[in-house]
């Protein structure tokens, strides 16, 4: 330790971090770019899947809510299948499974899309979130107060316009709390990406641990990254709910002086 004076502060920090700290912070910092790219991939696939799945779920939910004669039962089968099975296996089915069929491997879709892990994950995630979103959106369409529909009719709106202006906007509002859970659930499920060779946040953590033969650093860093993302997302939804659901919020009662806790 005699040459301590010659070292720069950074070298000293590296030394402490490697030898005396429970986690090698400097090593994590050196590879933080991997985690940032992982974050980009995780968010990219999660949000693209949520967007596409959300768009897909709107017509499906309407068809389910109005019990369309031929569409209702196939859509029910679709949602039951995707909600009743693990996303991991659905992703394996598409990524590893489809190659079994020569017809798929020879089709024009194979080269750019179905042979790439990124696209397969996106397809699996989109179908999965579409199934969940369809079901709770159906629920909130079905609970539209009858009076709102009657009022729309009385104003001379056609069923299509009533759907667009009255039923759907209010159904979205009522579905918002359930949707915030779905978004966080999708973010949690996105760890499946790292199992099909993609470098998401967990993928970066697994890479770091594998490369340097570590037990904690990569996973703990990944954990912190996921926690920050979940925190930001739930903050965002709280803000959004405040905006969209402002008219549904209970008015905050003025606490009476001296009464202590207000009974709920």
């Amino acid at each position: 330790m005699e040459e301590n004076g010659d070292r720069t502060f950074w070298e000293y920090l590296t030394y402490v971090s490697e030898n005396h700290s429970p986690l090698d912070f400097v090593l994590i910092w050196d590879h933080i770019d991997r985690f940032l790219w992982g974050t980009v991939l995780t968010l990219e696939i999660t949000f693209l899947a949520l967007l596409l799945g959300g768009m897909l779920s709107i017509p499906l939910a309407i068809a389910r809510a109005y019990k369309h004669p031929w569409l209702n039962s196939p859509i029910w089968c679709f949602t039951y299948f995707f909600r009743g099975t693990p996303l991991l296996v659905q992703t394996y089915l598409i990524y590893y499974g489809l190659a079994q069929f020569d017809a798929v491997r020879e089709s024009f879709l194979w080269d750019p899309i179905l042979s790439s892990a990124w696209w397969c994950a996106l397809i699996a995630f989109t179908l999965n979130t579409a199934a969940y979103t369809t079901e709770f959106l159906r629920g909130s369409i079905e609970t539209t107060p009858q009076g709102e529909i009657e009022a729309a009719r009385a104003c001379g709106m056609s069923p299509g316009i009533a759907m667009r202006r009255i039923i759907l906007p209010n159904a979205f509002r009522r579905a918002l709390p359930a949707y915030s859970n779905e978004v966080i659930f999708m973010l949690h499920s996105s760890v499946v990406l790292s199992t099909i060779t993609l470098q998401d946040i967990l993928g970066a953590g697994r890479w770091l641990n594998g490369r340097y033969y570590l037990a904690y650093e990569g996973f703990i860093t990944a954990m912190v990254f996921y926690m920050i993302l979940v925190f930001l997302i739930s903050r965002g939804f709280k803000w959004w709910e405040k905006h969209w659901l402002a008219h549904l919020r209970q008015r905050e009662a003025e606490p009476e002086s001296g009464s202590g806790k207000v009974a709920v």
Binding site: P86, L88, G97, L202
Partner: protein, 229 residues
């Protein structure tokens, strides 16, 4: 289809492992959930905050990350501890244990919220009435709180259980020879991955469908005293 039939024993063994894993984690999750709910409803600030940190942590972290941390990191931690204190020799955490503990720990947090909500839904007057009748806290729990708590908790419990069953698939990633792992192996050696993965999906559907029916029956049983509108 023929190949799946040929490998039926492998798939069956895998299914058994998956079911054992699911039930083991469920038991642990119920224990964690009850303890967590008690802590959240207790008067101690420390217990409330600990339980609050627990549920917030779990809501923020995906289950596979915790599972890997426990499987790789937990092993190292235990052995480092053993080395420092000399209390035990080399310990190996196997995949099954890591799976049960991480899934149980994760779903314990969800169960905490389920049980807390269910206990809060019981009218306070009933517990006061129990005290007035001279029941001990344990008797009140057994006769008043528990039967009604189960009734209020069941819908959310059913939901948690269905999510838990699906979460067991992740344990194949750390190498447990469960249904998914066995089917993936069979799929690779027969070059029919789609067939085997589809079989896995069907088996999971059967498990969820059966538990759905079972839990509905339980729901009817526990709400025997409730008047339906």
């Amino acid at each position: 289809m023929d190949t799946v039939w040929e490998y039926r024993n492998l798939l069956f063994e895998g299914t058994l492992v998956t079911i054992q894993l699911a039930f083991g984690s469920l038991l642990l999750a119920i224990v964690f959930g009850l303890v967590g709910a008690m802590a959240k409803l207790s008067n101690s600030r420390l217990l409330q905050n600990t339980a609050g940190a627990y549920t917030t942590l779990i809501r923020g972290v995906p289950d596979l990350v915790l599972m890997m941390l426990l499987f790789y990191g937990g092993q190292q931690l235990l052995n480092d501890l053993g080395g420092v204190t000399g209390w035990w020799d080399y310990i190996e955490i196997n995949q099954f244990t890591a799976g049960v503990f991480s899934i149980g720990f994760v779903f314990g947090a969800y169960m905490t919220e389920t049980f807390r909500g269910a206990i809060l839904a019981i009218p306070r007057g009933q517990i006061e009435a129990g005290i007035a009748c001279g029941m001990t806290p344990a008797t009140i729990f057994r006769r008043v709180t528990w039967p009604q708590m189960v009734r209020f908790a069941l819908p959310s419990f059913t939901n948690n259980w269905l999510v838990l069953v699906k979460a067991t698939a992740l344990v194949s990633v750390i190498g447990l020879h469960d249904l998914v792992w066995n089917a993936a192996t069979a799929g690779r050696s027969t070059r029919e991955p789609f067939t085997f993965m589809f079989a896995v999906l069907v088996i999971y559907l059967i498990i969820t469908a059966v538990s759905d029916v079972g839990l509905r029956w339980l729901e009817r049983k526990y709400s025997a005293g409730v008047r339906r509108v």
